[in-house]
């Protein structure tokens, strides 16, 4: 079991993050689809802190000497995953923008030609 103070902080932090994500979705700055990955991350973070002995069991299982090292490692892993996810999204959007730009150019050319 983690110290009660730490657990309180984790709950507070997760609550804030969750609030922020929901707020962003509400303000249409975030689509629900992309908010899911954040909500899942936050929920995982919260659960792992709340389930007694969950973290320390995994720690001894994976062989980390210090618990905080494992937490950092996991968080870094999550961040890498999130940024990969973002790269995929950006690449896909770039592709879509290219297709739209080309279509606009071709349609505009056809309109101009028919006008002359």
């Amino acid at each position: 079991m983690l110290p009660i103070k730490l657990i309180m902080q984790i709950i507070l932090f997760s609550g804030l993050m969750l609030f922020l994500v929901v707020y962003l979705v509400h303000k249409n700055l975030f689509t629900i689809k992309y908010s899911l990955i954040w909500i899942i991350s936050i929920a995982g973070f919260l659960l792992s802190a709340l389930i007694p002995n969950f973290l320390s069991t995994i720690q001894s299982w994976l062989g980390f000497e210090v618990l905080s090292n494992m937490i950092f490692a996991v968080l870094i892993g999550i961040l890498i995953f999130l940024s990969l996810n973002l790269t995929v999204i950006v690449s896909r959007q770039k592709e879509n923008i290219r297709l739209l730009t080309q279509e606009i150019a071709l349609i505009r050319e056809r309109i101009d030609r028919n006008h002359d």
């Binding site: 290219r98 730009t101 080309q102 606009i104 150019a105 071709l106 505009r108 050319e109 101009d112």
Partner: protein, 239 residues
């Protein structure tokens, strides 16, 4: 009759674009052109319209790959038999177009590249020493990846038949379009050939490759060629 289209990608080419198109039309009035204005900030579009040159203006700059692909899409939509990529900056010489399309007209090849190096010749404009070393490196990489020798993989003076027009309209590499596209074609067993051409020094505009970035550029090109050559299966499925 064979319908021939010149795809002319143009980014800020107001100094040379009209002259380039006029050189094509005075050589053979039956040949059509489409200028792909890649978000130019100068008067490229205005000048083309004033001279009744067909022009498709991209609302934003996509880079040479995105611009050239727009041309291939135009060629596909308008049923052209041959599409020729031709620079708007006066680098390419209209006299060589006949050599470039000869094997496509004869139906023996799908894609022809105008090469400055094919005969080991050293005439005309062949760009700086550093750039030639880069081209050689790309050429060696393509040889390793595909088994075919392409002496001038960065040449933008090319001709494509209907099959290739269709393939490029569907999917065209945009990062390093010239070497990547030829690698893709070779991997997919299209018949590609090089013919010797002489090129002029560009009249206007600036090269899209800057010297100070060249090392980084090289690493990127070679890596992307390796990746592209591994994509074979995926693209074949699409076909």
């Amino acid at each position: 009759m064979t319908k021939v289209l010149f795809i002319i990608p143009a980014y800020n080419e107001e100094k040379s674009i009209v002259k380039t198109v006029q050189s094509i039309h005075s050589y053979n009035p039956a040949w059509d052109v489409i200028v792909i204005n890649d978000g130019s900030k100068d008067d490229t579009e205005k000048l083309c319209k004033a001279h009744s040159i067909p022009i498709a203006t991209l609302p934003m700059n996509l880079g040479i790959g995105g611009a050239v692909q727009t041309g291939y899409k135009y060629a596909l939509h308008n049923n052209y038999d041959i599409a020729i990529q031709f620079d708007g900056d006066g680098q390419h010489n209209i006299e060589f177009v006949h050599d470039i399309i000869k094997d496509i007209l004869a139906n023996t090849h799908d894609f022809i590249i105008g090469s400055r190096f094919v005969d080991g010749k050293r005439e005309g404009f062949i760009s700086s020493r550093l750039r030639r070393i880069g081209i050689r490196l790309i050429s060696i990489t393509i040889k390793i990846l595909t088994g075919h020798t392409i002496t001038d993989p960065t040449s933008g003076f090319r001709a494509a038949n209907r099959k290739v027009i269709q393939a490029f309209a569907e999917s065209y590499p945009i990062e390093f379009p010239e070497p990547e596209s030829v690698t893709l074609l070779l991997k997919q067993e299209y018949k590609v050939k090089e013919v010797p051409v002489l090129m002029n020094e560009r009249q206007g505009g600036t090269s899209s490759i800057h010297t100070w970035k060249s090392a980084y550029y090289m690493v990127n090109v070679l890596l992307s060629l390796v990746i592209v050559s591994m994509q074979k299966r995926k693209i074949n499925l699409k076909k």
